[in-house]
Structures are given as structure tokens and as C-alpha cells.
Symmetry: C2
Subunit: 212 residues, 2 copies
């Protein structure tokens, strides 16, 4: 029925959401695509095109209501329906992510944390007691979490991911430096620090040679 919205558009939505949130917090009630485009460093055309993939949220001659538009984008992103998530791997990174992240405003709810390290099992992070990885199957079958955050060693990612898919997990936020083989119906979002560093390395190189 509806045509599929392109990846590029989706990738821009969180940024719109963030800007609208800031505008809203600073008390601005309405904004035109032109004003917003200037603030964000994009074209007004792009903003209007992007938004009109989902419907007409503006009003001719007026612009967009900031609060309303933010709400609509939130709905498009599905932030209003909390999806249950578990964290696999409670090392430095896993714990830091759990502590630093506001799950609820982003559409998720963290309901379990797992590790294989017996020293960690039983301790708590964000009021959640870390469980032994051996209990994960039962936990998933009982509580049906939708998403798993993977912060396990690179060598274990694929194995763990496959297991969790078997148990019923539908989506991954993957921090481990390896890729989860693309399976049908499984959503994956990777955060690879190494890739970011390498891109930055390239950019620095480019910026310098430009000057010479």
C-alpha cells in the first residue's frame, strides 16, 4: 500500500526529533521548514519531502507546530510503544551503556541483564540484578523481550545472536566488532567504535592535506 520509506529518510528522523525537542524546550511554538533548515544545515525542500513521506503535518502560510511535529515524529519512530530489551554482556561497555542511556524516551524498556562471569552475576546495575547467561533461554521464553543489546566479545557475537534468535529475539543493538548475518525479520543496528575511529582518521587526513 504505502511505498517503502528510504533508509536515508529514516536516518534523519532522530535528528529532526532532537532539534524539535530542543526548540520545544526553549519555548518555540512554531517553525517553518526554512527556519529549521537553516538551524540544521539542510535544505527546506528536504525537510518537507521527508515529512511528507508520512503525512502533512504543517499548515500553509504558517509552518509547523513544534510540539505537534515532535510528537508525530515520535509516533513514526514508535517511541510511544515501549519494547522490552535485555543486555547481554555486563562488562565496562555494557554497564556504561545501561547506566548512560534513557531507554523509555527512546521506545525501550530494559528488563534483564546477563553475563557469564560468576563474579558479576548477582550484582545490580540500574536496579537490575545481573543473571547468569545460562538462564537466558528461560528468561526470554517467559518474558518475551523483543530486543537484545550485544556487548559481548567479538568472537562470541554470532553464536550468541543465533541462539537468541532461536529463543525469539527480534532485534539487536550490536556493539561487538563483528556483523550479525542478516536474517529475515531480524532488525539490527550496529555501533562499531572502530569504524567511527577509522572514518575520523580519514577525515583528519583529508582536512590536513587540503590545507597544504
Amino acid at each position: 500500500m504505502e511505498r517503502k520509506v528510504s533508509e536515508s529518510v529514516i536516518n534523519r528522523l532522530p535528528r529532526y526529533y532532537r532539534y524539535l525537542n530542543e526548540l520545544s524546550k526553549s519555548g518555540i511554538e512554531r517553525i517553518s521548514s526554512k527556519e529549521l533548515s537553516q538551524k540544521m544545515g539542510v535544505t527546506a525542500s528536504q525537510i518537507r519531502q521527508d515529512l511528507n513521506c508520512f503525512g502533512g503535518f504543517g499548515q500553509q502560510g504558517y509552518g509547523y507546530n513544534v510540539k505537534l511535529l515532535q510528537e508525530e515524529i515520535g509516533k513514526i519512530l514508535g517511541l510511544n510503544t515501549p519494547k522490552t530489551a535485555i543486555l547481554v554482556g555486563a562488562g565496562n561497555l555494557g554497564r556504561a551503556f545501561a547506566i548512560n542511556t534513557s531507554f523509555e524516551p527512546r521506545g525501550f524498556k530494559l528488563i534483564g541483564i546477563f553475563d557469564i562471569d560468576k563474579n558479576k552475576v548477582g550484582t545490580t546495575v540500574k536496579n537490575i540484578t545481573i543473571m547468569d547467561y545460562s538462564e537466558i533461554k528461560d528468561f526470554i521464553e517467559k518474558n518475551k523481550p523483543v530486543m537484545a543489546i550485544l556487548a559481548v566479545p567479538r568472537t562470541h557475537v554470532r553464536e550468541v545472536a543465533n541462539e537468541l534468535i532461536d529463543y525469539g529475539i527480534k532485534a539487536f543493538l550490536n556493539f561487538s566488532y563483528a556483523e550479525i548475518s542478516q536474517t529475515d525479520g531480524i532488525s539490527v543496528e550496529n555501533i562499531h567504535f572502530s569504524d567511527s575511529l577509522m572514518r575520523l582518521s580519514y577525515k583528519i587526513k583529508e582536512n590536513y592535506s587540503k590545507d597544504i
Copy 2:
């Protein structure tokens, strides 16, 4: 002289690098664009086009030498010239990043860590003693680091970034949930956990409604 290489190409380079590294480690010496394309889930055309932005690294009738190609991509990314970096903000996230990341193989060298929390100052992470943020100006002027990893509260990012630019920092890896205003000659790479979560939220929503 050379035409600017598009962002899309650059963004794919680290992934090529990773795959070649894996191939190399598993003892594979040569690979054709077709084989690689199948492994990576892209087109062979794209691989050849991407690589030929930088030069002809292959051989007709043979394909690509895995090790050589990996090396060349490493050079393109600038991984062979270590760039000095400092970490600003030694909270959970900053520390976890410092501990988990291999800087040298990604073209960087971590030479200093800063925080404002007096309780953290003096303790060490990865053999680096955390310094007080008040010392950062002197440190930068003396040691001339090129890049700063920002893991400070959202409310402080812009202020800190502007200060560091004044002191001579040329690039940022930014974890804080705000954007650094794009300045000429300054390279920025953002890692926004919130954006990743929201994109995943959207994907989950889409994957489900597709099934219905």
C-alpha cells in the same frame, strides 16, 4: 586535482577493511570482487567502483591480493599514521570506551584523560593518570593532540568543544547527545546512542507491521 571521494564510499571503507582482515586471518590470499560482494551482501560493481576511487589495486583475471588490499585501504584511512587523542570526561562511558578500544590499529594514540571530578583525578585508566580539566589548556599547547573524545554531559559539549578548538584540537569523536556546530577545518564523528535506539525502534515497528 583529484575529485572528492563521496561520503558513501568513505563510510564503506572500514567495513571492507574489516572483511579483508578476517579473510587475511583465515589464510585466504586472493579474492575477486564477485566473491567479496557475495560475502558482504553488496554488488561486485560497487566494490570495484569504490576501490577505483583510489587506484587500481587488483589484477585482471586474478582479482585482489587480500593482504595488499587491506594494507592499501589502511593507508587510505590513514591508519598507519597515529594521531594523538585525548579523552574528555572519565565517567562510565569515557572509561569504558578507553578500555575497550584499540586505538593504535585505528590510527590513534590516547595520550591524556581529563575530568572535573576531583575524586577521579589522579586515578588511572589504561595506564594514563586522569588529569584535572583545568590543566587541559597547558596540556594541549604542550602536547598538541589532534583529536578529542567527548564523553561529557550533553549540556557542556558545545562549551567544551569551542574551548578545545581554541586550544588547537582539530577533530572530535563525540558521544554527547548534542551536536558540535560545524566549523571549517574541524572533523567530527558523532556516536549518538539515542539515535541508534530510535532507528531500531522504527525498524522493529516496520518489521512487525509487515508481517500483519
